[in-house]
Amino acid sequence: MRILLVEDDLMLVNVLTKSLAAQNYSVDSVRDGSTAWEYLTHIDYDLILLDVLLPHLDGVSLCRRIRAEQNETPILIMTAQHNSRARVRGLDAGADDYVVKPFDIEELMARIRALIRRSGRDLSPILQLGQLVFDPGHCTTSYGGMPLSLSAKEYALLDLFFHEPNHVFSIPELLDSLWSSEEYPAEATVRSHIRRLRAKLIDAGAPQDYISNVHGRGYFLNPNGGLNAPGKQNILIDEQQLQPLKKEPNQSLDAQYQRFLAETWHQFQPKVLKDVEQLEQLLEPLQYPQDSVPDLDAAHLLAHRLKGTLGLFQQPSAMSSAAFLEAFLEAFMEESQKGSRESCVHPSDSQTSLSSAFLDLKGHLQRIKETLQSDLPLTAPSTPHDTELQPVFFCISDDESFQQAMITAAKTLPLTLVTMSNRFLISDRLWNQLPPQRPDGIIVSLYHPASSDSGLEPKLLEPKLEQLNHLRTVYAPNDPPTLFLLGESIDFATRLESVRYGARYLLNKNQQPSRLLQTCLALLPPPKTFPKALMVDDDEPWLQFMALQLQNSGFQIKTLSDPHDFEPMLVVTQPDILILDVKIPQVSGLELCQTIRSDMHWQSLPVIFVSALTDQKTQASAFSAGADDYLCKPIQSKDLAHRMMTRLQRNQTLMHWRLDNGCAMFQE
């Protein structure tokens, strides 16, 4: 549930935001009416909490405007005016309810719940299935009017059964759903929780088999108590009985969607950032309208596209800036067509005003960039606690004992393992059953006659691998998961064929599953980040030019032309890679390199020299000073970016192998 809070009193905003967040609402807060309007034109809220006295556009006028747009989002007005006239004005303008300040937070929450309920936007304030009543808002349950006193785990169990009524849950499935990977209870523990839950339901009057067991398969919720024969395929309740759930997509869909949005946002962030930079370049001529003519159509299209994309990814502040840019460009184009370009924004003093408008535009562009850069993917390794951030692996094999061993091993590691059979490689008709989450890695076992594993047979490798490669691109065509093949012996031709079809690593299958998974984990490419590079060169124009180009290639660049500031800059920047010139006045690049290499802390920092000196002797000196690479000027920025990226990846891989040198690559 998403709420827009429109309030200019910061203290109240803080209190309300915290209280609403505690009730699991997500809140966007804005401080004036016109910004609220901007948000509302782009984001679909479940409720608007609106102050009356607001800067720019007051609450009552905003309310009227919202209703004029046929927007029926519930509006709750907060007013400090006690007289009935003020309240009547608000209600007449289209508000659904009001509270008078100062108000009781609990009463406000109750009114919000009531409004959302009445609007039909709530999934279900209280769910009912026969005599079982489930109140997710308050985490309470009752059967036949008798409150059930459930432990957290029992509640979670019932919640799981309740929300997937057409599903028999196996014990491993329950373990995976309700226990974290660091806990690892025995199956008996799960059974004992189910026994206790069942006993409490029976005490409250539920039939004996209210939670039924299908022998060899698992447990399910059976509200018809004994009417269904266990083991039949169509054993479960009609989903129509859960009508409240059908009103809107259920919460797990929402969660999946939000997760997908977040993943896709990270995937598209660099592209969006490039669009912003392109827009910035297109707008540059506006600063000097006498000298150059901007490509307004292209800039307008770009601003429009940015607005749509940022809105879709639920970035209201950045989207609002993109909307401003679009509106400005629209007005500017109209005025340009009329032949009075300068007067479009500030008719009085054309040149000065255009410059100040340009500064406004720059400000908005900067805001979008900050949003994009502040929300970069996390680079910290995931821990067992943040399972949402854990890497996901698909393990494809028909060998059940191997799959089981992998599942057991995965429980002790910070990763999520999804096992599936080779059927997924035979036909893409099964792909609609694939989990929605993009895997980070796919592990596939190759067939070997001496083993019991019916993996991929080398003879059939080509079509299967083609299918496998296709499968990898289903989730993210531009960023397919890493493919790991496992085998016991393999010839060069098969290896070549595998690599051609996208396999990244061939690993020895004859090792402990936990070790195997650790290896896969270590070999995953690092999360997409913008590596930090420090560039030291006394040729400032070259430095600035190259920095700009490298930024476009996804690096964060710090430049330095005076080596005296090198040490503080190095400490503050903590670069991922260092680019040095050889000839720098006073302290040479070679000396800088030797100095940092004398410090253990900087041993693994990749250092690349870029110099106009092409002779062998200088290059040899650079390598003996500790350089990792040496490039000669002139050099294309793309080539340098490529070298930097490759060096970073190699370093990453080497570090993993140093940490875990027991992981043997597959040997013939």
């Binding site: 969607y257 997908f260 896709t264 596209r305 607005k307 994309t309 879709l312 990814f313 008709r429 609609n432």
Partner: protein, 133 residues
């Protein structure tokens, strides 16, 4: 191009030059209703896919480079093979007046961006008077 999935009830073609929007629409429609989604990144590609696949509905972005939404819509209507496919415009223009103006083109409906693509199928059903899946 994606193959139709077993159990999928509707086929949707989205014509939008923005890859992120294609991705999210595809995911949302598929997740919420198991609909199959074809994607085209330009008006010209869209016309070819529409003619070949004959989807149940076309979601058409208004602002695209070269051939924009209205021009694509006209071309779809001019072709007997595609003229009966309902078209819904996707636009970031949120004001009522803009929506009304677009509606006058003869499209089946207009959906304002940004949207939650999990709710998109319901919106499409409402516009086209399809009974809910």
């Amino acid at each position: 191009m994606m193959k139709s999935k077993p159990g999928a009830t509707k086929q949707v073609l989205i014509i939008d030059d923005e890859e992120s929007i294609q991705t999210i629409v595809q995911f949302g429609l598929n997740l919420s209703h198991n609909w199959t989604v074809f994607c085209a990144s330009s008006g010209m590609d869209g016309l070819a896919i529409a003619e070949q696949s004959h989807p149940d509905v076309i979601l058409l972005d208004v602002m695209m480079p070269e051939m924009d939404g209205p021009a694509t819509f006209k071309a779809l209507k001019a072709n007997p093979a595609t003229q009966n496919i309902p078209v819904i415009l996707l636009t970031a223009k949120a004001q009522t007046s803009d929506r009304r103006q677009l509606q006058t083109l003869g499209v089946s409906g207009v959906i304002t961006k940004p949207f939650n693509s999990l709710h998109l199928a319901a919106e499409i059903c409402k516009i086209l008077h399809w009974s809910r899946e």
